[in-house]
């Protein structure tokens, strides 16, 4: 039962082969038994899940239908969930029970989805290894000594370990696509503004975007359908109609123009991953796609620009955590400044503190033009590169990550080494473009992902291409041993 995809679950529930409550109890038992190995959940919402499953079964018995009615899901622990701890994997919010639901949480609950719990992540979504969580590192189900990627590493590991069929994540520099690649999942970061950010604890507001992690493109289509749409509560939400993502999955990709940036195949890329990328392109060519070499000349400037923009926005966003209105407060503050300084120093982990300080420095008097403004100018150069490329091609294809999952602790001594793992994903956030990662093979038993990027609001095209690829390959069906 736990091997079923969301689409299979939807069919099984519609045909009354099992109830949502039965399925929910099976998955809750698996989580209790297997998650101690993986550490993918921060909070398991057992009672809420059973209540929601029973309510979904009652709605279905009353004649209601819907792809997500009774479907078990989990939310990355930065989506505010009313009455449930929403920790952002930080000591700062260990005691924070959200007084309201994020739009994504509310929309999925209204569609009848069942929340099994809140998944582990890098603290405040700052990381690519899921090692910076206050609740401990998440393990990769493909090899428990390796990282699952991050920051949505708990969501990825839980879905990869077949603890549930799909989960929500967020992606600020690669945090959906990179863990999807490292755990053999399909994950999509939508266009900036496609999914509401309301109630999503902010890291870098001009880059953050929520999306699904699942085992297939078909499931990502179902879950994204439930998440996407205009929300007046989010001032950067875009008021564009949401197409039917499932309806275009089966469209032919004959004549699809795939661009391969020559800058993608530099010295930093594991040659075995490069080989798998080329093999995935051959499969797509067999389906009628045509390939063209393109250039993204400013690609290499993505990481430096990101590490100004994201920390700058984070230093501003995280100033709200002051020990006064909610969250952690230090013991016996001697005055107000002491209360602020110690609550923040004791409540935030080291990587969060580093990024806050980088941001505070980049925004401080005398440095603003050299750092923040220069980064925003580079951001436009990167966007222009993509606009030029999309004048000639329909999608851009390449590796999702330069390396497969590394050993837990291997990059701890040097934060920059971990930053470089986001080389291929980060520019889509800077440009606000949609991007998808799909399974494309293995290196030494560890999964490898291929990334597809498309023009604004072309999520349907990405899901279509990935679905067509998944009809002729079986990488996405492979499950880790022991799960």
């Amino acid at each position: 039962m736990h091997q079923m995809t969301l689409a299979e679950i939807a069919r099984g529930l519609a045909e009354k082969k099992f109830s949502s409550e039965e399925l929910t109890r099976v998955l809750l038992e698996r989580i209790a038994r297997l998650d101690p190995q993986v550490n993918s959940f921060i909070t398991v919402t057992e009672d809420l899940a059973i209540t929601q499953a029973q309510a979904a079964d009652a709605r279905r018995a009353a004649g209601e239908n819907g792809a997500l009615l009774g479907a078990p899901l989990a939310h990355k622990d930065l989506f505010c969930t009313q009455g449930v701890r929403t920790s952002c994997a930080s000591k700062m919010l260990d005691n924070f029970k959200s007084p309201y639901d994020a739009t994504v949480v509310a929309k999925l609950a209204a569609a009848g989805a069942v929340t099994l719990g809140k998944t582990n992540m890098d603290e405040f979504a700052m990381g690519s290894a899921n090692e910076s969580s206050y609740y401990g590192a998440v393990k990769n189900p493909w090899n428990l000594e390796h990282v699952p990627g991050g920051s949505s590493g708990g969501s990825a590991a839980a879905v990869a370990a077949r603890l549930l069929p799909a989960a929500t994540g967020t992606d600020t520099g690669g945090s959906i696509r990179q863990p999807a690649a490292l755990t053999n999942l399909t994950g999509i970061k939508p266009t900036y503004g496609r999914v509401s950010r309301w109630g999503m604890i902010a890291y870098a507001s001009s880059l953050d975007q929520a999306g699904p992690l699942a085992r297939t493109a078909e499931d990502c289509a179902l879950l994204l359908q439930g998440m996407a749409g205009f929300d007046p509560q989010d001032s950067t939400s875009i008021d564009e109609p949401v197409p039917d993502y499932s309806a275009t999955l089966n469209a032919s990709i004959k004549g699809l123009r795939i661009g391969i940036p020559k800058e993608y195949f530099g010295a930093g890329l594991d040659p075995r991953i490069a080989q798998l990328v080329h093999e995935s392109v051959k499969e797509l060519e067999k389906l009628g796609a045509v390939v063209k070499e393109i250039s993204l000349p400013n690609l290499q400037h993505g990481i430096p620009a990101y590490y100004v923009i994201a920390p700058a926005e984070a230093s501003s966003n995280l100033s709200r955590f002051d020990g006064v209105r909610f969250g952690y407060r230090c013991e016996d503050p001697k005055d107000l400044t002491d209360l602020y300084k110690r609550s923040r120093a004791e409540g935030f982990g080291p990587e969060v503190q580093r990024r806050i300080m980088v941001g505070a420095y980049a925004l401080s008097a005398g440095y603003y033009d050299a750092y923040y403004l220069q980064a925003q100018k580079i951001r436009r150069l990167i966007k222009n590169d993509f606009m030029n490329a999309f004048a000639e091609v329909d999608v851009i294809l390449g590796p999702t990550t330069p390396n497969p999952a590394w050993k837990i602790g291997a990059k701890n001594a040097d934060p920059i080494a971990e930053y470089l793992e986001d080389f291929y994903t980060i520019t889509a956030n800077l440009a606000g473009l949609p991007g998808l990662s799909m399974p494309a093979g293995f290196v030494e038993g560890l999964p490898v992902g291929v990334q597809l990027l498309a023009p604004y609001f072309q999520e349907g095209r990405l899901l279509n291409v990935a679905h067509q690829y998944q009809q002729v390959t079986d990488w996405h069906t492979r499950a880790p041993t022991g799960f």
Binding site: N95, P304, F326, R329, D335, L336, Q353, R380
Partner: protein, 95 residues
């Protein structure tokens, strides 16, 4: 230009982070390695390029100036570290 201990102390104060003295050398080293990465930007010619703040260059929407929210004070104060008579409590600010 590398940061020195005094710079890091100043930044930490701006960010209201109470660093331990013992952590400052390690923090200084980490910030300098991040800034060395970031400084690669300085080689990029951005003359005449407009900064990009929003990927789709959207501007803030306006709405009717009407009350749309209820008063949530009690709900929000239920999760505060210390409150009294509807007020948030902090250490004495004025002696």
């Amino acid at each position: 230009m590398a940061l020195e201990r005094s710079d890091v102390e100043k930044i930490a104060h701006l960010a209201r982070l109470g660093l331990n003295d013992a952590d400052i050398p390690r923090t200084t080293e980490a910030l300098n390695s991040i800034l060395a990465l970031v400084d690669q930007m300085q080689a990029v010619d951005t003359n005449g390029i407009e900064p990009l703040a929003h990927p789709l260059e959207a501007s803030q929407r306006l709405r009717e100036d009407a009350v749309t929210e209820r008063n949530h004070r009690d709900t929000y104060q239920a999760i505060a570290p210390a409150v009294e008579h509807g007020l948030y409590l902090v250490p004495k600010v004025i002696e």
